[in-house]
């Protein structure tokens, strides 16, 4: 037999695919493999268990002795001493039960609580068509829950019949709009910020409406002149600016004399707690994303002046602490503005927080843009798409998807940073609100409980954002590998 004959081989039947072998499993095996696989692993496992036990044994008595019904810290301590002996320690969550409304609403007038509730409840109606664009089930759950809870909470918090009736009409109409006409619901989403402003600060509806009108006028000027490129954009900005500075006030007052549409005004110093945090946070998030995109594109631009301006802005803003910017907002800005201008403090803080977050956002998005292969730009160019169409249709959808974890991290960081407004005299929920509550005689000494309460709410909100971003990443996954 020669060598070549023994090498030759012809398969006469193909092997069918078989299922993979089942791995040996079971709790004991898992423990042995993962926790007790060697001396070092055993030591670390035991150390971990020890630390867990220490934490638990310290915290548990304090939590399990907690008192929810009392009128002061002293009463809390009496109840705990009576039940668990004189040396026992316990949490006094009665302070939360008594003062929860201040943590949430600050000094917002008690009979107007329904307004922030409606403003933030309808935030979900505004966002649902965008966030759950191709997931009708999740969308229906979210808008249904938001509408029902908004109504119920407002009723419990003492909104009167007229207010509840108007609210019901608005919520039902909006839900119907979202389900019937998605494209029109997106218009409602664009109008939402102006509606929320009206609800939160009160006054006449026509003021925010005329600000909105400025955007609409600008848009139509741009549309009419769009053949002229950048000139159209400049003209639109000029016309809108002229409207806001010279005309909008007069028109708003004019309409208001005929049809007032007034809500009781609430001033910015009455804001506090989570109403303040969420107002600043949501506005900052909504504004910093588009600004960050523009900055990221500008930083990658071929035009040297635009690129340099973006670099300067980003590096300057990232180079100073947020608190510095907040001080600039609260103190320095007054020196530069004409005397007598009353520029709302919350608006100033929102502007500074937005600028701060947008600088970070720009770098996160620039990372996403840089991660795209050059071929994507070339393919878009080769098909004849101009710069803006290529960015909007091809580049940004992919770059933003890559950047989702970073973008949401920036959002979460910014939302938590809103507690820093305490340094410019606003009542953030964590420090200013708890200090205020401790300043009253009954709740002197309540330290841990407010922090735990405020911390939990922050955790729930931030964890919610984080989960949504993971959901979004899964939904947008396209590589199927």
């Amino acid at each position: 037999m020669s060598q070549t004959q023994s090498v030759a081989f012809v398969r006469d039947s193909m092997l069918p695919p078989e299922p993979p072998p089942t791995r040996a499993s079971g709790a004991i095996l898992w423990l042995r493999e993962n926790l007790f696989s060697g001396p070092l692993n055993i030591a670390l496992t035991l150390l971990g268990l020890g630390i867990l036990w220490l934490l638990f044994s310290t915290l548990w008595p304090w939590l399990s002795h907690s008192v929810w019904n009392a009128n002061s810290m002293a009463e809390c301590r009496q109840i705990i001493a009576a039940a668990h002996g004189p040396d026992a320690s316990g949490a006094c969550f009665a302070v939360i039960k008594h003062r929860w409304n201040q943590f949430v609403f600050g000094f917002y007038p008690v009979d107007l609580y329904w307004r922030p509730v409606l403003a933030f409840g309808s935030l979900f109606l505004a966002l649902a068509p965008v966030l759950f664009a191709d997931n009708p089930r999740a969308r229906r759950i979210v808008i249904g829950l938001a509408a029902v809870l908004t109504f119920l909470i407002s009723a419990v918090l003492g909104a009167n019949g007229v207010e509840l009736g108007a609210m019901a009409v608005l919520l039902l109409a909006w839900v119907a709009l979202i389900e019937a006409r998605r494209d029109w619901a997106l218009l409602a989403t664009l109008i939402y910020p102006f509606l929320a402003t009206w609800l939160l600060w009160g006054g006449t509806l026509w003021e925010p409406a005329m600000v909105l009108a400025g955007f609409v006028i600008g848009f139509f000027v741009w549309r009419a002149l769009s053949a002229y490129g950048m000139f159209a954009f400049a003209a639109a900005v000029l016309v809108a600016a002229f409207w806001w500075l010279a005309l909008s006030d007069i028109v708003a007052r004019g309409i208001a004399t005929v049809l007032p549409m007034r809500l009781t005004p609430v001033t910015s110093d009455q804001f506090g707690g989570f109403v303040l945090s969420i107002t600043i946070g949501v506005a900052g998030i909504a504004l910093s994303l588009p600004l960050g995109i523009i900055l990221a594109l500008a930083r990658r631009s071929d035009l040297p002046v635009i690129k340099m301006m973006a670099v300067l802005f980003i590096e300057f803003i990232r180079g100073v602490p947020l608190i510095t910017l907040l001080f600039v907002a609260s103190l320095l800005l007054n020196y530069f503005l004409p005397p007598g201008t009353n520029f709302d403090i919350i608006l100033r803080v929102i502007i500074m927080v937005t600028l701060f977050a947008s600088a970070y956002m720009a770098e996160v998005i620039r990372g996403g843009l840089a991660a795209l292969p050059k071929g994507q730009y070339e393919a878009a160019d080769a098909l004849g798409l101009d710069y803006w169409k290529a960015q909007r249709l091809v580049i940004l959808p992919q770059a933003l998807k890559i950047s989702i974890p970073g973008i949401v991290s920036t959002f979460i960081g910014m939302f938590k940073d809103t507690t820093l407004v305490v340094f410019v005299g606003l009542f953030d929920p964590l420090k200013a609100m708890s200090d205020t509550i401790r300043a009253s005689f009954e709740w002197k000494g309540a330290y841990w409980e407010p922090y735990i309460f405020v911390g939990s709410i922050f955790f729930i909100l931030c964890f919610g954002m984080s989960r949504y971003s993971m959901h979004l990443e899964r939904r947008l996954k396209r590589d199927h590998r």
Partner: protein
Amino acid sequence: MATQTQTQPKLGETAIEIAKLNKWYGTFHVLRDIDLNVSRGERIVIAGPSGSGKSTLIRCINRLEEHQAGRIIVDGTELTNDLKNIDKVRSEVGMVFQHFNLFPHLTILENCTLAPIWVRKVPKREAEETAMHFLEKVKIPEQALKYPGQLSGGQQQRVAIARSLCMRPRIMLFDEPTSALDPEMIKEVLDTMIELAEDGMTMLCVTHEMGFAQAVAHRVIFMDQGQIVEQNTPKEFFNNPKSERTKLFLSQILGH
């Protein structure tokens, strides 16, 4: 190659006119005094060793690369810094890349309708019908609703060809369309290109597929060091190469 389609083009109007084209990357002189006229309906294969400037040449034709001296006139429009002219040329000239460059976030159908809808302003319905027509032509209509990541390399390249055709281009550029494909998939892409050739499309292909060149090209251009060294009909080019450089190149790629 399955078919022999070596008819001479009806040499009429000029589709592309390139005169004294020069290009540098920094101080490196990539294209040197290129003169080339392409007639409507003509099919040209550009061959040459790597780094000879053949890809750069066809990428200049739709201005993916900027040239520093000389003139390029495509369909009567000269390529200058004028963005309007560049976009006009790009919408008339289709391009197929080595790495397909499909848009991974869009379905196959959306890849094909994107440019017609946004550049040509074709209504969505009509754009989808056109897209399905060309997807059938490249024989993958059943993949229309999948994403590029779900397709094989050969299928992706055929989608890329269909995507270009949806813009109804008058000229097609192919930049090494089969170089990133497995041998088994090369044939399906070449067959698609041959079919396109039979329809009379003006084509410029940078490729190492010499069989394809022999089957469909009217003219083979051989480039080295940024210059056109030799050009001839495929028959003459392969059987009777004139320059030493060409002979060396052919002996190396056909030698085994």
